[in-house]
Amino acid sequence: MVTPIYIIVALLGVAFALGFSGQKQIKAAGTLALGALAFSLFVSLEWLIGLYTETYKSTQIFTAGVNPPFSINLFMGTGEALFTTLINFIGLFGGLYLFNKLIKKGRSTFIALLMLIMGLNVVVMTRDMFNLFVFLEISSVATAGLIILNQNKKSLAAGFKYIIATGIIAGILLIGIIFMYRFTGSLNIDDIPTGNLLMIKGFGTAIFLILTSILLELKPFPANGWGLDVYQGTHAGISVFISAASGTALLYVLYKFIPLMSPSFAFALSLVGGLTFIASNLLGLKQTHPNRLLGYSSIGQIGLVVLVIGLAPYLGDKFEYIAIALLGTHVFAKAGLFWISGIIQKDNIRKWTILRKNKLLTILFGVFMLALLGFPPFPSFFGKWELITELAGNGFISWMVIILLGSFLEAVYLFRWLGYILKLEAAKKELQPISWNKYLPIIISAILLIASGFGMSYLHEHAKFINYIPLIVAAAFILIDRLPVFIKNTLAIASVGLWYYMMYPDLEEFRLIFATIFLVGGIITLLAGYAYKGKRQGFYPMALIMFAGLGGLIEAKTTLEFFFAWELMTIGSYFLIIRGKKSISHALSYMLFSLGGAYAILAAFGLATVNNTGISLDILANLNIYAPAIFILLAIGFMTKTASLGLHIWLPGAHAEAETDVSPMVSAILLKAGLFGLIVMMIKMGDQMIFGLSISYFLGWLGVFTAIIGNLMAALQEDAKRLLAYSSIGVLGYALFGLALMSHLGWLGATSIAITHFMFKTTLFLAIGGVVWRLKTKNMYQMGGLIKKMPFSFISVLISIIVLAGIPPLTGFAGKWLFFNAIMEKGWYLQGALISFAGVIAFLYCFRLIHSVFLGQLKDEHRNVKEAPFWILLPQYIILGVLIIFSAFPNSLLKPIGEFITPYLPNGALVWDGQMAYSLYGYWNGELIMYAVVGIFVAVLLWIIFWNRKIKKVKQFDIVYAAERPFLPETTHYAYNFFAHYKKAVGILAQPMISNFWEGVSEIGHSVSDKIRRIYNGSGQAYLIHIIGFIVIIFLFTFGGF
């Protein structure tokens, strides 16, 4: 056991000792300094472990051998141990990272670093207020010294602003401290009476001044311009200390003062925290300088923790868990990001493509970013989950909204940045070689981030049941990323298959259906992956993360597990989508919509805990006053995935630009996750009423318009994959409508549409993907006549569109028939007519697709085109086989589904007599229809073959062409603007109103951001005015001036 006082001794001692070293021994001196930092880390870590395992007891250290208040006392408890560990970690590794730089600048920089870390250690440990002031000043001065590590006009200006701002703040702190002493006669935090003392004149002012100055040190909005300028002006390695170490220490100080806070100040604190969180993330929107952007993010994150501290009384025993989860993530992630920024050294996030040259750093960047945004499995995920749940459980809805909004804004710029890195045109220059001392800190903080994520989930009463095995398997694929595709694909198929096999015995009802779509569907689409050559780096880990999420949705028993899986799926699919060539903006909008939806789900799950114990999914069934709100939020969340009207604009681009086998994954499979969510929700919650109207009624109309607009837009596309993407929107509109019917037949229809959509959209995307693969274009008018070159793809598309269009005798008709019956039963006649109208519009794009691609005129340059690769065809034909079986024997599909639905919606079930289905209104026998149609067709065909025995096969220009001859296939193929007349007639429906709306929202957000950030006009004096104004406002607020 090493007394923590040795931290100070070591750091201070070495700092003095360094003063004696000359420039020649600088390396040794630097190593010595690092050694001191390592020693401090060791001490605090030892204390942390000791206290955690309860081998040590928390200790008071009295200096000068006198009891407080006559002496300064330091305290070492779990909290102090943890925070000093964090600070010393940053100190050691930050020092290591900057080692070369510091050596170049001389010993004084090492001294400054040691002093900074020493100061912060004491700030955390001390119980004496004046001591707090002294060491805060020491660390400030040291920081100011470090800021000018790079001596240029930027860092000088930033440093000067830093000094004058912290100078004023320190002065105010000092006044507060002296007043405190005047009124209490003590400077020891433990001696000061607690309770609502703020109203006592004088004393209240004293504590107010102290707390406010500490708050100001945390750079609250808007009094934080000086902090931002420092982040931008100084070296990124220094920003790490300011953001991760100083921020951490000051947050702990704030935490220490919680007992002294009056409720009104706590409220002010939470307001300031919330405002800072939202505002700095909002301002981040327009920011392009990476360090300043990280500064905004950093200030926002600290604001969030301040908010949590302000709300501490309401968070109960979860408070520390939440705060540590959020803060820990902030420390490691922000340090990591700043360190990476220090390596890249580009002053615009658009120039960061150079990062892509280094795979490891890119992965680490992604890890830090996802961690910051609260994605699983990082600690902040659990922190945010608990925070939202607790807030919602306590009825703090507006706080919940603020936090989610702020997080969303943060996601906007961080994902935009990530997108730039991954997709913007690559920089020509290579990255400089990176020495190990720069790598090591980054890698270690990433590892700690992940480890602490697992740790936090282990500490959580529910999260410890989350099944991490799929995630670990997915992560394992990162390690084998260098193997050829063939091996990885086989392993991926095997692992998904194994999981399904293991999961299978527990599956029942809808979980069986959707598990099959997700995982068996996954295996089938993965088969197409064999067509790829080379390594296909980065694909498999992400695909498997997506499947891990999808499988996790099936396995989820609690809302936490469900949300965990949902987020996992979102991340995986994001990275799959962004692999496409022109996916940068589409992937971003996909992510933003998904994230918005996810936050809606999170909010709903939080609200569901009101009046409920536990977080099992069954609590959704136990309704509380928020039930309609929960229903709507969940529906919005799930509908971002099903891409219902209004939330659909991400889909066309994302699906169209994705790779050949990714399109079916994200379109045919991923969209069903939303459907699964809706089904789970509706099973648990039933229908909900709002203002006396059923919400599902609105969902029904939404489904109708989604179907119409989706199909109409599909018919007006020139890009084959975009057409299919819009078609997905339309079909999912059907499914939504079916679910909204809330009747047996409606659900049966919706489920059968979900299954058939999976099948035909997989085949369509693969078939068209195969064509695109060969032709290297997605524009349909550049294709044509491919039936002769790619007959198997043609047959696949033909059967799929017959199913899609719902034409008997294939199984797509089942969906139409069920819908009509369900509509009759429910009495939604107008909706029914419109949805069948949408179905007829589907013919337009079905025909356009097959005509423009496979029929008409073959282009000259496609003469030697080969059939799509075998591995792309194979999955298609597997599915087509199943489709034909379902068509001939519809009860093999519909009967079991019906039985699954019956327990929930027993009325109006189909009556089966062999293959004959009877509903209340009609009847239908798929098998006999199949026989009849095939019989007639074969008879007629035989007649045609008999009569036209001697028929002459001709070539492509042997057509009657108004007595002329065609000259070029391009001018003879009628494919461009195929439905011009339709566009003229009903194009008004196809105006991009919704895209315009969202673009407007984004535009407003960005311009507001741009307007507000003008307050940071770069003048240190203006920043002082901000600080003083801030104090006045908080004072008025706390003391009831407002």
Binding site: T777, E861, R863, K953, V954, K955, V960, A963
Partner: protein
């Protein structure tokens, strides 16, 4: 316009491999027409009756005589009652009415349309111009004798012939078909080389295949 589209050219496949395009050979089947002999006996007679009673006319106004064909559809002449109908596409038509003089430019289109009609097919040449050039006998760009270029079943004289004359001509055609003498298509196939040589002699920019299917 036409020349550059009949010469060989190189295009590049999506993979960047060059592909040589020989337009006439690649786009068109070409070759020669086949002789399809009539069946014997009652079946052919019945078929000929049907052919003669269902004369689908290719609506292609080749010359000024086309103006005289329009009245046939009017109530006054009403050619429909005799089984004549106008079709917009040569694929489905059986009678080609060459309505008057044929400029060289039109001749090429006429040949293509004629060849695209299915056997059996018949040609009715209308007006003096188709017989000897008529008033254009010494023109630099009209042909003089149609049956040097296409097998003509019926000539109707006049400049221009009245609709009544047309009806009479069609009547004549009907009789001819019923008698089994409407074998212009086979005649064309038999003497294909001669016809083609004549056609090519007069049409200089020959940008269509030798036989248009």
């Amino acid at each position: 316009m036409s020349k550059e589209h009949t010469e060989k050219r190189i295009v590049y496949s999506p993979d960047g491999e060059p592909i040589e395009i020989d337009p006439i050979k690649d786009y068109f089947e070409g070759g020669r027409p086949e002789i399809r002999n009539p069946r014997n006996g009652i079946i052919e007679k019945f078929a000929n009756w049907a052919r003669s009673e269902s004369l689908w006319i290719l609506g292609f106004g080749t010359g000024c005589g086309a103006i005289e064909m329009r009245p046939l559809m009017t109530p006054r002449f009403d050619a429909y009652r005799f089984g004549y109908q106008w079709r917009p596409t040569p694929r489905q038509s059986s009678v080609f009415v060459i309505s008057g003089y044929l400029s060289v430019k039109t001749l090429k289109r006429v040949i293509r349309s004629y060849e695209q009609m299915q056997n059996p097919k018949f040609v009715v040449a209308l007006g003096s111009c188709t017989i000897n050039g008529g008033m254009y006998y010494d023109s630099y760009n009209t042909i003089n004798r149609l049956d040097h270029y296409l097998p003509v079943d019926v000539y109707i004289t006049g400049c221009m012939p009245r609709p009544e004359a047309l009806l009479a001509g069609f009547d004549h055609l009907k009789r001819k078909i019923k008698e089994g003498r409407g074998e212009g298509a086979n005649k064309y196939a038999e003497n294909f080389d001669w016809y083609k040589a004549n056609q090519k002699k007069i049409i200089k920019d020959w940008d269509i295949p030798d036989y248009n299917w």
